[in-house]
Each structure stands twice: as structure tokens, then as C-alpha cells.
């Protein structure tokens, strides 16, 4: 179980979210949106100086992340053929459903995530309504919310695994 990637899968998801967040911030600061009076809008991205360097660095990180992610999945699938991680299924890969104990732990973790969203979404909607937040930071907020769900899920499973 120690080398089971299904346990660390939420951390990989979080890393992916943080990479996307990097792109959002980069584009958010480098892009200019022009709204026209006759309808429609123009979207312009100017990559110069530091933005260009950052974009290249981000691309390297993405390639490195994807390579490492795919390698780890291949390693996991080879080691645990009964519990393969597949990108073609609709079900989240981090679910542990080996038997009724693991189903119960997964249920506990997903319940915590549900509770988190039940509170966090209305709070976030309220904050977005009341504060003048830019689109970039709104997206960053949503991404942080998404990362939070994986952290809660991971912590619950980790706590269980450490007691096994």
C-alpha cells in the first residue's frame, strides 16, 4: 500500500492545479481584454521580457510534470495490475475501493470534501459578489478551492493509512 499511487494521486492533481494557476496568473497579467461598444471583445497577449521567460519556464515545468506523472502511473500499473490507474474511466482515480474498509474510508473522505464545498462555495460566491476582484483572481480562487478539496481528501486517506 505504501507505493500505491492512488494515495498520492490527489497531490499530483494539486500540482497540476498549481501549474494551471501559474498559467492563469501569467496570462492574466500579460493579457488585455478590450470590449467593443458594438459588441464582442478583443483579447491581446503581450509576452515580453520576464513574461516570455516565465512562459518558457512554465512550459518546461508542464513537460517535466507530465513526463513524471505518466512514468509514475506506468510504474503503479505495473506494480498493482489489479488497481490500475486509467485515464479513460470517469471515476476519480484516488478512490480506494479494495474492500469494505477502504470503501468506508473513501466515503469518509468524500463526505469531508462535500462538506467543504457546501461551505466554501457560498462563501466564495459572497466574496466575489462583494469585493471588486479581477477575473484572474476569481479563477485563482476557484483553482485554490479545487486544490483544497484534494488536500482534504489526501489528509483523510493519509491519516487512515498511517494507522494501518
Amino acid at each position: 500500500m505504501k507505493n500505491d499511487m492512488r494515495i498520492t494521486y490527489p497531490l499530483w492533481q494539486m500540482a497540476g492545479i498549481f501549474i494551471i494557476m501559474g498559467f492563469v496568473l501569467l496570462v492574466g497579467y500579460a493579457a488585455t481584454v478590450n470590449t467593443f461598444s458594438d459588441g464582442g471583445f478583443g483579447f491581446e497577449i503581450s509576452m515580453s521580457g520576464n513574461s516570455g521567460i516565465l512562459l518558457n519556464a512554465m512550459m518546461v515545468i508542464v513537460v517535466f510534470y507530465l513526463l513524471l506523472f505518466c512514468l509514475r502511473i506506468a510504474k503503479h500499473n505495473k506494480r498493482m495490475p489489479k488497481h490500475k490507474i486509467s485515464m479513460t474511466t470517469y471515476k476519480p482515480q484516488e478512490y480506494l475501493e479494495d474492500d469494505e474498509l477502504f470503501q468506508d474510508v473513501t466515503k469518509q473522505a468524500t463526505k469531508k470534501v462535500y462538506t467543504y464545498f457546501a461551505w466554501a462555495l457560498p462563501v466564495m460566491a459572497g466574496v466575489y459578489l462583494m469585493l471588486p476582484i479581477s477575473k484572474t483572481w476569481m479563477i485563482v480562487g476557484v483553482l485554490l478551492l479545487a486544490a483544497g478539496q484534494y488536500w482534504i481528501y489526501y489528509r483523510t486517506i493519509r491519516k487512515f493509512m498511517s494507522s494501518v
Partner: protein
Amino acid sequence: MLKNRLKELRARYSFTQIELAKQVGVTRQTIGFIEKGEFSPSVTLSLKLAKALDCDINEIFWLEGEEEHEE
């Protein structure tokens, strides 16, 4: 709360947690958690355990507070 004497009965048959787990089709961790009283198994699993240990389900599991009744 559900109490049990799974560990004691398992020892009677000299089963390891892994062996018993294999017999009833669960993981070793599940047997460990049941023995520690941290997980209440389903009726199906309880019946499988009773069958594997060749005893009645009431010999393995009982409700807290019913110890006096059992004794």
C-alpha cells in the same frame, strides 16, 4: 458499539491476518481494523468470518454492554 473476539478465534485456528483476509476476500488491514474494534464489518463479511472460523456469528461479535449476558 460492536465488540469482538476475532483475534482470539483467529489464534485458535493459527490463522494469520493475511490468511484469514484471503479466505473471506478482504485486505489484511480490514481484519486488523475489525480486531481493534475500529471498523464494524457488514453482515455479509461477518457471516463469511463466522464461516471461516467455523463458529456462530454471535461468538465473534456482540454489542457493548451485552458482555454480562454473554458470560
